[in-house]
């Protein structure tokens, strides 16, 4: 409607001057009506929005004290209490989020107001430093939208991080008058310190109806699984103190308790542990006789000894995190930052971000009843695991605890993952610290399957113009029982492939693909014509491989479908003089690569080669017309972490009388080029993924004293 009326008005000026005969009054009235109409439209349609979304924001340099004041009448509505049965499908309006190609929810932040009651008394502090940081982080993130109409999630600027710093009823009234409140649907509140004396509820007491709660200190009874988000209690020390990550190795104390104001009953149990196990257990408390000016929060004492906090946490292997009046404790953040493994003793506590974080990898949870057994439980944990837990603890802090920004973004990502589950972040991305992500592999073909033999393989022959040799290869390969199709990649744009009638007649389909450009990477393109999992890449001059050797190679590939299974083996070596990698094709006792001049591999790796090759390797190979096979070896080893399999003893491939191991030129320049490739690829991959092994695969009865005719693969060449 709006677009249409605007069009009508823009046409006006051209139209009206032509009607000169009409009276002046007529025009005046006409335009007055138009004007009034415009003004009215503006008033009704745009006015409320402008107040809410634009006018407040335009001024950049402003103080928190200047924000508008909203007076809450005493009888203004109060939302219902939180509904414990709420779940995403019952209380959340997904239609607001919609399907979008980026799979990102849109988050809107209400502008800041100061709320006062009827008597002008403030309802709460306008905003805390942390909440301001949190809102700033959301506003700077990809999730943010300034358009209330496009928002999926609404974050009030009313600060409820600490329940003790606000007036419950009035805060609830303030929430209820938010412009899009609608019973709290799709509203997200952040709270870190819930409850208050004497019963310390484990969730925010402010009535909030259907609003989602990102809360610190939920218990299993208040946490609405899959709806609320459990968040950490932020420790402002994180921002003040810089604790560098401490490497693995022994620490002075085994168990450390650093919390102040522990319940005497807990303290007694801890002291019993200390009495039993001596100095490896350290129990700290507040310092009673600190000189003036020393901040008590940065010191801890044991008898007369004074320790720096949180630095002392780094001196211990395990750090106790006991519940206080509340379940969530800020000390957890300090402990993680110190890379100390938290021992969490808080029955029914929902750990921060437990929906996505695997706390078993970073902490030890001990039921309160089992506190006396804590020492023996912790001692049963292997040292290697402790070191990993320490690293994991530190990683959790760095990724999800260290700042309000980290907390805010993790919370939004969790909600985002629920709404777009098919684009959700995986367990590994949430949990694996960078060191693990770096050193680990996730094999794309992880399921142990032995593909059915009946499927067969597709032979892909890359050729340029050696037609005679090509035809010989085709004839030889076609004798292999499991061959299901032969694909010739014709890489010569200047010459047409031979006529159909000239090709050898073979029992399986033969397809010729013509390429647009003479590139080596054409050999690894995932052609639709390849319908089998197994691909045999073979050069157009490999004529020596016997049918038994090829069939056996296919059988071996079936047992190792995620590896390169090939005939010519090669090795990479570290050249200590030159301080770089060297390519080796001599008679070696080891292999780390197989050449794709004759090798079986899974078609999936064609995809990876064509679309997922790191860096500029693909173009580099095409430009240098060399080393596509080394690149493939790097790619497969990098993604699977596994070695290649060299099959059969064969060393000669092109002609029986060739003297060299194979026909590929062994001259010095060739070796230098190949070595360069290895060094280039190792630097692009950032690591050397190739694995060196000392074995090759032969048929079970190879060279055994057994009648040849009873062997499945008798014709395995000697060289």
């Amino acid at each position: 409607i709006m677009c249409a009326s605007a069009k009508y008005n823009t046409r006006g000026p051209a139209l009206i001057p032509r009607m000169k005969t009409k009276h002046r009054i007529y025009y005046i009235t006409l335009f007055s009506i138009v004007l009034l109409g415009l003004i009215a439209t503006g008033m009704f349609q745009f006015w409320p929005h402008s107040i809410e979304s634009s006018s407040d924001w335009t001024v950049e340099k402003r103080s928190v004290h200047d924000v508008p004041v909203v007076k809450l009448p005493a009888d203004s509505p109060i939302p219902e209490r939180g509904d414990l049965s709420c779940r995403m499908h019952t209380c959340f309006d997904v239609y607001r989020c919609g399907f979008n190609p980026k799979n990102k929810i849109k988050v809107y932040i209400y502008s800041l107001k100061k709320y006062v009651d009827e008597y002008g008394t403030l309802v709460s502090n306008t905003i805390s430093r942390e909440y301001n940081e949190l809102l700033t982080a959301i506003s700077d993130s990809e999730f943010y939208t300034d358009d209330v109409n496009r928002a999926c999630l609404f974050v009030p600027s009313i600060d409820v991080l600490n329940q003790n710093a606000l007036r419950i009823k009035e805060t609830a009234q303030a929430l209820a008058q938010l412009s899009r409140w609608d019973r709290g649907t799709n509203h997200l509140l952040f709270n870190m310190l819930p409850g208050g004396p004497p019963d310390y509820n484990t969730a925010l007491d402010v009535p909030r109806d259907r609003a989602l709660l990102a809360g610190g200190g939920f218990s299993t009874w208040t946490y609405r699984q899959g709806y609320d988000v459990s968040i950490p209690v932020y420790s402002p020390l994180s921002g003040e103190v810089d604790l560098p990550e401490r490497g693995p190795g022994p620490r002075r104390y085994f168990i450390l308790s650093s919390q102040m104001g522990l319940h005497p009953e807990y303290r007694l149990e801890l002291e019993a542990l200390q009495a039993e196990n001596g100095e490896s257990v350290l129990i700290l408390d507040k310092c009673t006789n600190l000189s003036n000016g020393v901040p008590a929060v940065r010191k801890r004492c044991y008898k007369n000894q004074v320790f720096d906090y949180p630095q002392v946490l780094q001196e211990s292997t395990f750090c106790v995190v006991l519940r206080g009046a509340r379940l969530g404790q800020a000390v957890l953040s300090d402990v993680l930052q110190a890379g100390c493994v938290p021992v969490i003793i808080a029955d029914s506590y929902i750990l921060p971000f437990s929906e996505v974080l695997d706390w078993k990898r970073a902490s030890v949870v001990i039921p309160e009843e089992k506190m006396p057994e804590m020492y023996s439980i912790l001692q049963s944990i292997p040292q290697r695991q402790i070191e990993e837990m320490q690293r994991q603890a530190r990683w959790f802090w760095e990724a999800y605890f260290r700042s309000m920004k980290a907390i805010a973004l993790a919370t939004l990502q969790i909600i985002n993952d629920r709404i777009y589950p098919y684009a959700a972040i995986s367990y590994e991305e949430w949990n694996d610290p960078p060191a693990v992500k770096w050193s680990s592999v996730s094999n794309p073909l992880f399921l142990p399957l032995i593909p059915p033999q009946s499927q067969g393989f597709t032979a892909v022959v890359l050729t340029y113009d050696r037609v005679e040799s090509l035809f010989r290869v085709i004839t030889e390969v076609s004798k292999v029982p499991s061959l299901s199709k032969l694909l010739v990649v014709w890489n010569n744009q200047n010459k047409n492939p031979p006529e159909d009638s000239l090709w050898p007649k073979i029992r399986v389909p033969l397809k010729v693909v013509r390429t647009a450009e003479n590139k080596l990477s054409n050999r690894f393109f995932p052609y639709d014509e390849i319908e089998t999992e197994a691909v045999l890449a073979i050069d157009d001059d490999i004529i020596m491989l016997t049918s038994d050797e090829l069939q056996f190679g296919y059988e071996v590939w079936r047992e190792f479908p995620d590896r390169l299974v090939g005939y010519p083996g090669r090795l990479h070596l570290w050249d200590h003089e030159m301080n770089k990698w060297k390519y080796e094709s001599e008679w070696t006792n080891e292999v780390s690569m197989v050449l794709t001049g004759a090798a079986f591999y899974h078609k999936y790796f064609n995809y990876l080669y064509t679309y997922k090759m790191p860096g500029d390797i693909k173009n580099w190979v095409d430009a240098h017309m060399n080393c596509e096979d080394i690149a493939m070896n790097f790619l497969v080893a990098n993604v699977t972490g596994k070695s290649v399999i060299k099959v059969t003893p064969r060393k000669k491939f092109k002609c029986p009388e060739c003297t060299a191991i194979d026909g590929l030129s062994l001259d010095q320049t060739h070796m230098v080029e190949r070595s360069e490739c290895i060094n280039k690829f190792a630097s692009v991959f950032g690591t050397m993924p190739l694995k060196v092994v000392e074995h090759r695969a032969d048929p079970v009865l190879y060279k055994d004293d057994f009648p040849e005719k009873l062997k499945s693969f008798p014709n395995i060449g000697s060289l």
Partner: protein, 759 residues
């Protein structure tokens, strides 16, 4: 005229200005979305005084979150017990942990009462528990109790509904308000609302129920199980249907559904809308109105045409040929369809809002299924189209892994339930989420062995570990001789000569005491002697003495050279999850006798590596002794030569892969002289040296009568009994042998690293 013109233009000017001021911004917003990017976003303001803002809490307050006047922790926990009961049960308030402390996790099943028949399915569940290693016959030592009353079908319209359950339960002296009881249920509630109503008070019992809704689910206490049919196999189970990793994962259809369309009642919201996404090409969504007696009463205009289309497609064919399968709620939240799709590697697209997914406490469903929202049905086609082929491939493989690990038989479903409960008892000795969701799956990983991933043979690659660089030689001695025989002395010498050997452990499995330590040869590595209990299964007991990841299992009369050992160990380090060894045998299906056959002849294939000379990971000792139920080990102890077959079967069942044979010198044990046996050893083990005779090609029947053939038929029996126990034949065959790279190549021996292997 002039003034009039001026007037007109002024008016226009004014109206333009007004339009610009009031409407311009909005116009741009609504009419030209693309143009908005240029405009600055109105972000959260950078307050000038933001650094002066106060913190949300006083640091003191944050660090001293205590209030000594509160209830003491013990009082609080006592108070919880009375508050958080029945519908608010948690492990810490409704479960008596102390029952599990003395005897560990033991499960007791109530004895069957006469005149109280149980359904076939419940019978299977009970027998799964009785077959489990946790079962006990003594209620005194039990930690968990299972009723003998069939509680699976609690739809009171059903024929299998058991009446007066409350009354019966109250008569059980062990009931104790349901404390430490586990109740299984597949169907609850009835037409028309199908609620979670069970028709009796479960009290403090843990409920393992299909179609659990998140609202009545007690987190960390109840367990959601999948709905399975009464034909679900007791053990073993069919394998998944994914035989190949096709790339791209091209199947004929993208998304399919075939099922009932509920015109009214609960669940009709989704079922009545499914036909909207049908496009007849790659999305097939077929519904029928034909169900119930009076469907024609509710029938609408679509029904007739839909019913015709419905008959045109076969459900099984759709399952086989589709990448994604819609699994919508039925009347209840869960359906058979879920497991069917999982087995078929048809990625489930779940449309069942509020369903607590099966075993969600352990399983990360986000890796194997698309959890859709019933409200966003129409977005499903575009959402699944956007899923990248790589991810589809991973999803498909994960469905197969989950199916095979946790769902393919009643045994697996029940054992998963028990393991989840067991994990709660000691959180510090439980499986992490990673273990549950990574091959080989949580059931095969014993947290009692270790909680560190690097101690298992399965996770080296995922976590960048590598297996230890040394091995333990573990030699079993059964011979009777008072002094040490020549072969064993030679063996100790050869093995200790390996640079990778860390220690030698001798299992002395003979009645006579071992020779004093002075009699043993001096070797470079420490030698430990363990007195065995003279049981065959002893050799796979997880002895503390074994300190390395790799175990080289040997018989006393095995003959190996140092370079054979070195080479085999290096091969094992490439395949740490498999058995890597020298002499091999194989199994085959004998179609005439309709049973598994076993052969020790030279063949082109192998599926069993004899543990008389083999490397494997020491974790398999723990699996053998702790994972396998005692009954199976007794079976092995009773048969003469079965323990190594069981070990091979176990490893194959875990890895789904064949063992690996490495090359060996020719004059292996065939020529070895027969050793004197332990006359009264629990098992009269024939010398393992006799294991691999190059027997002539003759039917086993002809061999009857000789000692060798008795042994042979025992091994064959063993194989068949194991296949029966596992419910399938786990052994996998291989056609290859691993040799050194230059093995028997015509090149100077000086170049070869293992020249002695070729002699």
């Amino acid at each position: 005229m002039q003034t009039r013109k001026k007037y007109i233009f002024l008016t226009f000017l004014a109206s333009w200005l007004l339009l610009f001021f009031f409407g311009g911004d909005q116009l741009r917003r609504f009419a030209f979305f693309s143009g908005r990017k240029a405009e600055a976003r109105r972000n959260w303001p950078r307050w000038t005084d933001r650094t002066l803002l106060k913190s949300f809490a006083d640091p003191q307050e944050l660090q001293r979150d205590g209030d000594p006047s509160l209830l003491s922790p013990r009082e609080r926990r006592a108070a919880w017990l009375s508050v958080y009961r029945s519908s608010r049960c948690r492990m810490e308030t409704c479960f008596d942990f102390s029952r599990c402390e003395r005897h560990g996790f033991k499960v007791f099943t109530y004895p069957q009462e006469r005149g109280q028949p149980v359904s076939e399915t419940y019978g299977k569940i009970l027998s799964s528990i009785e077959r489990s290693r946790y079962h006990t016959l003594n209620p005194e030592e039990a930690c968990l109790f299972i009723l003998s009353i069939d509680t699976l079908d609690r739809d009171h319209l059903s024929g299998q509904y058991v009446r007066n359950v409350d009354e019966k339960i109250r008569g059980f002296p062990l009931w104790n308000g349901g404390r430490n009881h586990l109740i299984f249920n597949l169907y609850s509630g009835t037409w028309p609302s199908y609620t979670g109503e069970l028709g009796f008070d479960i009290g403090h019992a843990i409920l393992a129920k299909a179609s659990f809704d998140t609202e009545s689910f007690r987190p960390g206490f109840d367990i959601s199980i999948p709905l399975f049919s009464k034909d679900h196999p007791q053990r073993g189970g069919d394998r998944g249907w994914l035989y190949q990793d096709s790339v791209p994962p091209k199947k004929k259809y993208l998304l399919v559904f075939k099922g009932k369309r509920y015109l009214t009642g609960i669940g009709s919201g989704t079922r009545n809308a499914l036909h909207h996404i049908h496009n007849g090409k790659d999305i097939i969504s077929l519904t029928t109105c034909k169900h119930g007696k009076d469907w024609e009463k509710h029938k609408d205009t679509r029904c007739d045409k839909d019913n015709v289309d419905y008959e045109r497609f076969d459900y099984q064919e759709l399952l086989h040929n589709s990448t994604f399968c819609i699994v919508p709620r039925g009347r209840r939240l869960g359906s058979f369809r879920f497991l069917e799709a999982l087995q078929a590697a048809c990625i489930p697209v779940l449309l069942s809002d509020g369903w607590e997914l099966p075993f969600a406490e352990a399983i990360d469903w986000g890796k194997a299924a698309v959890v859709g929202s019933e409200r966003l049905l129409l977005q499903i086609p575009s959402a699944v189209r956007c899923i990248h082929p790589e991810r589809v491939l991973a999803f498909q493989q994960q469905t197969q892994f989950l199916w095979d690990s946790y769902f393919s038989s009643v045994d697996k479903i029940v054992h998963t339930t028990l393991e989840i409960i067991k994990d709660r008892l000691s959180p510090h000795r439980s499986r992490s989420r990673f273990l549950w969701n990574t091959l080989p799956g949580g059931l095969l990983v014993l947290p009692d062995f270790s909680t560190h991933l690097g101690d298992f043979p399965f996770y080296y690659l995922q976590h960048g570990y590598s297996p230890s660089k040394k091995f333990t030689a573990f030699i079993r001695v059964v011979s009777q001789a008072g002094s040490l025989s020549q072969p064993i002395l030679r063996l100790i010498q050869a093995v200790s000569g390996s640079q990778y050997c860390a220690q030698i452990v001798i299992l002395w499995s003979c009645e006579k005491p071992p020779p004093p330590s002075g009699k043993w040869p001096q070797s470079a590595v420490p030698l430990t002697i363990i007195q065995g209990r003279r049981k065959l299964s002893d050799r796979f007991f997880p002895f503390e003495a074994i300190q390395t990841d790799a175990v080289l299992s040997l018989d006393e009369d095995t003959s190996l050279s140092t370079s054979e050992v070195d080479f085999a160990f290096l091969v094992w380090r490439s395949f740490p999850e498999r058995i890597v060894g020298f002499p091999t045998q194989s199994h085959f299906w004998d179609p005439e006798q309709r049973r598994w056959g076993y052969t020790s002849k030279w063949t082109n294939e192998l599926s069993i590596v004899l543990t008389a000379a083999a490397f494997y990971h020491r974790y398999y000792h723990s699996l053998f002794s702790e994972y396998l139920p005692a009954g199976l080990r007794e079976l092995v102890d009773g048969l003469a030569a079965c323990e190594d077959i069981l070990m091979n079967v176990l490893v194959a069942a875990v890895t789904k892969l064949p063992p690996i044979k490495v090359t060996q010198r020719k004059q292996h044990k065939e020529a070895m002289a027969q050793q004197a046996e332990c006359r009264d050893g629990a098992a009269g083990t024939p010398p393992p040296g006799q294991r691999s005779p190059p027997a002539p090609r003759s039917a086993p029947a002809k061999l009857k009568g000789t000692a060798g053939s008795r042994r042979f038929s025992q091994r064959q029996d063993c194989l068949n009994q194991l296949a029966d126990w596992f419910g399938y034949m786990p052994l996998v065959s291989s056609q290859l042998r691993l040799d050194p790279v230059l093995f028997k190549d015509q090149v100077s021996v000086l170049r070869k690293k293992y020249p002695s292997l070729e002699k």
